[in-house]
């Protein structure tokens, strides 16, 4: 099938652009270890309140400025509602839901994940800027969905 010379140039440009984008994605994924949250951990959602460490949601120190934060997202609140995080610390957020699907997004960070009942999802962020961060549920979960938010105090 004949393809016009200009079209060959255009398609080379187009596919070349896609390859450049793809290279950036792959370098970020493999060299900088930037991957979307893809946790494989499972949990019985009817027993979240009695399953450690979700029975006491909150921050745990691992030493060396590293922390784990355990969250329960339920209709229509996050537990803990306010989290105090030392400035400069690296926090891995573990979240699960005992009821329906929720979202977990800390605005102005790349911590953004789906919270699925029966699963634990996780994402890590280093807090280098002090301030009050807004945590919102960004998946519709019911009639009071807009009231489901929390905050992080980074000092």
């Amino acid at each position: 099938m004949h393809v016009h010379r200009y079209e060959r140039i255009w398609m080379t440009f187009g596919i070349g652009m896609l390859l450049v984008f793809l290279t950036i994605v792959l370098v970020a994924a493999f060299a900088d270890n930037m991957n979307p949250p893809s946790d494989m951990m499972q949990i019985d959602p009817t027993k979240v309140a009695s399953t450690p460490p979700f029975e006491r949601p909150g921050l745990r120190s691992l030493g060396n400025g590293r922390y784990e934060a355990y969250y329960v997202a339920r209709i229509f609140a996050f537990s803990p509602n306010i989290l105090r995080v030392p400035l400069g610390s690296t926090v891995t957020f573990y979240v699960t839901s005992p009821d329906v699907v929720h979202g977990f997004n800390i605005a102005h960070t790349a911590v953004n994940m789906m919270v699925i009942p029966g699963w634990v999802n996780s994402a890590t962020h280093t807090f280098r800027t002090p301030g009050t961060y807004l945590l919102v549920c960004n998946e519709y979960c019911g009639i009071e969905h807009q009231t489901m938010f929390g905050s992080l105090e980074v000092r």
Binding site: M1, L18, A107, M113, P117, W119, N138
Partner: protein
Amino acid sequence: MVREERQMRAENRLVLAHVYTATAAIVVGAVFGLLQAYSRASAISLPSTFDYYRVLTLHGILMALVFTTFFITGLALFVAYRQVPRARRLFVGWLGWGTMLAGTLMAAYEVLAGNATVLYTFYAPLKASPFFYIGATLLVLGTWVVAFEVFENVVFFKRTTGAPRLPLALFTIAATFVMWWVATLGVVAEMGLLLPWSLGWTSGINVMLTRMFFWYFGHPLVYFWIMGAYVIWYTVIPTRFGGKVFSDGLTRLTFIMLLLLSTPVGIHHEFMEPGISTTWKLLHTIMTYGVAIPSFLTAFAIFATFEIAARAQGRRGLVAIVGGLPWRDPVFAGAAYGMLLFIAGGFGGLINASYEMDSVVHNTIWIVGHFHITVGGPVALTFLGASYWLIPKLTGRALWTPGLALLQVQTWFVGMVLMSFSMHFAGLLGAPRRTAEVAYAGSHVAAAWQPYMIAAAAGGLLLTISIAIFALVAIGTLLANDKSEDMHVAFAEAAPGGEPSPPIFEHLFRWGAVALLLAVAAYSGPLGELLRHPGFLAPGMRTW
């Protein structure tokens, strides 16, 4: 009246039923959209019997599923009937429309009654009433009846004419419906889980499995819309300025690529989810980049069509080529403004599909901006513009006040730019989608989103005014009753004497089988992972 004339009028009535159902959906859907935009801008507060999420559910269903689908089924029947003229009974065609309409009304009633405030993605374990799922299933099954009618005409054409190739328009719409059939298997499989669960026959549901089935369908759904718009760009738009299709073979190749690549990409909607490994997420990123290729082909073909027609008319140079296009023709202008929006929308889509980068925009209102500048841009503008061609061809009535029709597509373009760009910017600042209000108890982070929400509401107001004009022109055309329109129609073809397309392109059903195999291969990994971790089955909840 001669028999052929009577036959054509009977067929037109069926196509009109589809087009008018689509029109009704977009008019009602636009009013709901305005209520949402005002609610998010804190300009109004919706009552509890008609709350934001109910309105949002109906807006999504009416715009994304009802308006688009009815317009494309109408277009498909129109192309099939006009390109395969024959004596035919319309029982199957009316059965398809009736099934789709019954399903739509049933689902819409359940939403209005407050029994299905589950948004148009109906994510489990939110549990709607069984009638909602039955209605949605009927809507899809009705499209299968229409697809059957289209395929039956394809087979009839091949058998009776012995022609080596389908007419181009028929080929493109048939490819669209082969793709649709492959895609809708996903949502039918999902309904096979949701329906018995909502009826209480099963006690729990695998939430991740329903999501995977949904997005197996959800992404090709957007390509179903795009392919419907491409059918018009390739085979109708050139007729508005005496142009020819740039290349018959490349047009067919474009549709085959869309058929093959639209489905095995859906995991890019699930990047932020647990239970799916990064390997498969990366693979779907690569496949999604691949589906951009037929759109690059289309961009070249459309601009080449413009230029070749201009040269044939003695116009040379960029200004003369672009300026000489029929910008005052609402049919052309609708599609052309849509193409402009699709340049922005297409690149936005590549961002969303870019694996880890999606964490910046996932479930923010950026995504809402993205699908408004795509389905509300190239798709809706092309369909609205094409209505100004289709309604006269179907009724024999000349378009009433083409100037108003032109104003309609222009206001839609401006409104959509204002609304969707505001949404994109607010999304980058973290504003979430799908929420009734974004005040968050006076949070200073949320306060920065508010100006964008007000700009989006202003865009929404323009869009609603645009739809009011659309309804006025559609109804005015009927009332003015100026029966001077020639009902005969010619679809654009490639210039005669060109190189014939490869015969292998013509085996659409076999290409469909290949598409299904590709989809199964792309989902075998993620599906296998889920089945190895079945875990807990959710009983379902009603949280509204």
